[in-house]
Amino acid sequence: MISASSKSFDAAPMIESGPDDDSLLRVSLGPQHPSTHGVFRMNVVLDGETVVSLKPVFGYLHRNHEKIAEGITYLSSMPYTDRLDYICPLSNNWAYAHAVEKLAGLEVPERAQYLRVILAELTRLINHTAFAGFILGDMGAWGSALMYAFRERELILDLFEDLTGARMMANFMRFGGCRNDLPDGWAAQVSRLVDDYGPFLDEMEKLLVGNEILLARTQGIGSLSKETLVNGGISGPMLRAAGVNYDIRKVDPYGIYERFDFRIPLGATGDCYDRIMIRFLEMRESLKILQQALAQLPEGPVIDPKARIRNFKPPVGESYARIEGPKGELGFHLISDGTTKPYRYRIRPPSFINLTLIEDMCLGLDLADVVVILGSVDIVLGEVDR
């Protein structure tokens, strides 16, 4: 019945037709679908509700970011990086600034270093909190967890607004430091927020961690072997949930992360549940980093006085800089030809690369699991499609 009519249902052609069998149901999940986190599309072939084949289709949110960046000045690309992973713009800022600083050999003053760590860890809090809300939404919990997550995220965004002038599109980091100094009382507000965040995490964990339905939905779902993950270039919490000790803050330290005492939580199985739990544990470590950074925050300038804002021309050369973004390894590769514009500008987006293994994770599972797995990868389409 389905097969007889299903062919005629295809409004959009399937790019990858998958197995050719009339008894299978081909569903185009997205680009307009409630839980594709934007405009992501998966061509799914179902046997009943079991996934037989899944082909991701990227590019519905492609904005030509890399090519645009080659046509504008170095500084002008900074606000564009906000829009990559719009949940955590400040990490993106940092990764880009880091790459340009490497290229131009700029020094970052102490205070700016601390400020960057504080902002990056706050961003990690935002991302992981929102993640917990989103994945519950993907599982069909009517937005309660999401609203709690956003309630707390809002407080951090308020702080971002006070500091950078915008809640999400921060455009705050500059080559050789940060744009402006802290407003009065900002650091005190952050430490108050950090103190209040622990109880909130307790509350979220109480809501999620022991929930039998959540356990049944996430445990044993979407795990891959360590080898597959490493070969697939997966990074971030998704890799660490499988037990691979790979956190760029530790293995290739940047900024001043060496000065802080924090640990890298590692899971064992790498299923969706571990991915959730790893993020919760990481948030607690982030809180530790934040406390230390706030206590040590020195006085001084926030930007390298040598740094030029206008007519910035890094020397001819090439640089790749990476940071541990909340979603994984976020890298920028720049080639300079000595002019005000980069010759080549390339991003290594963690969401995109983490997403490439989605078919391997979903095969043989239910349609409902696909949504959970997609949620557990934690993608932002702005970064996937760029």
């Binding site: 019945m1 097969s3 197995p19 009339d22 072939v45 084949s53 095969l363 043989g364």
Partner: protein
């Protein structure tokens, strides 16, 4: 009498629809309609209990299961093909004609229908239960045994199918396993 005169033609039409319509889903829905009308006939003649049970079991369970099995088995064009084959006509007639003959014979025995249905006594659950488990106890037991056997068989079949679909190792991309 009047309700019957309205209901019976409708029933016949619905039954014809169930037989004649080419798309299996339409046929199944017409079958459900015919069964529902049968229930209404029971209600109209005052057999409330039988009517409601008929509705619950045949419309609520049997028709739904037929529809569901249509959904999951996907017969494709087989039904239309069967319809075209002359042998199916013969088989169909061979099945229906004796039934029809029996019906005609039964109807001819009672040449005139009673004017009104006898007043049915208010049926208490207790009396119903008593009748079921005393006079008709063997029948109930037999049906129970049969159903249990069927259920166990179904469970075994399901388990076998389940096991065979799970012995297969984790599938690699692009090589869908058989189902």
């Amino acid at each position: 009498m009047t309700p019957l005169l309205i209901l019976c033609p409708m029933m016949i039409l619905a039954a014809l629809g169930a037989v004649w319509l080419a798309r299996p889903v339409h046929a199944a829905l017409f079958l459900a309609l015919a069964l529902a009308l049968t229930a209404v006939v029971y209600l109209a003649v005052g057999a409330d209990f039988i009517g409601l049970v008929q509705f619950m079991v045949y419309v609520g369970a049997v028709a739904v299961l037929i529809v569901f099995s249509l959904l999951i088995t996907r017969p494709g064009d087989e039904a239309e093909e069967l319809l075209r084959r002359p042998r199916s006509w013969v088989t169909g007639l061979a099945c229906t004609l004796p039934v029809f003959a029996v019906l005609v014979y039964a109807a001819s025995r009672h040449t005139c229908l009673p004017d009104a249905a006898p007043e049915n006594p208010s049926l208490s659950v207790e009396s119903f239960g008593r009748v079921l488990f005393t006079t008709h106890a063997p029948a109930v037991l037999a049906v129970g045994v049969l159903l249990t056997a069927v259920m166990i068989g179904a469970a075994l079949f399901a388990k076998e199918a389940h096991a065979s679909s799970h012995t297969e190792p984790t599938r690699k991309p692009n090589t869908p396993g058989d189902s």
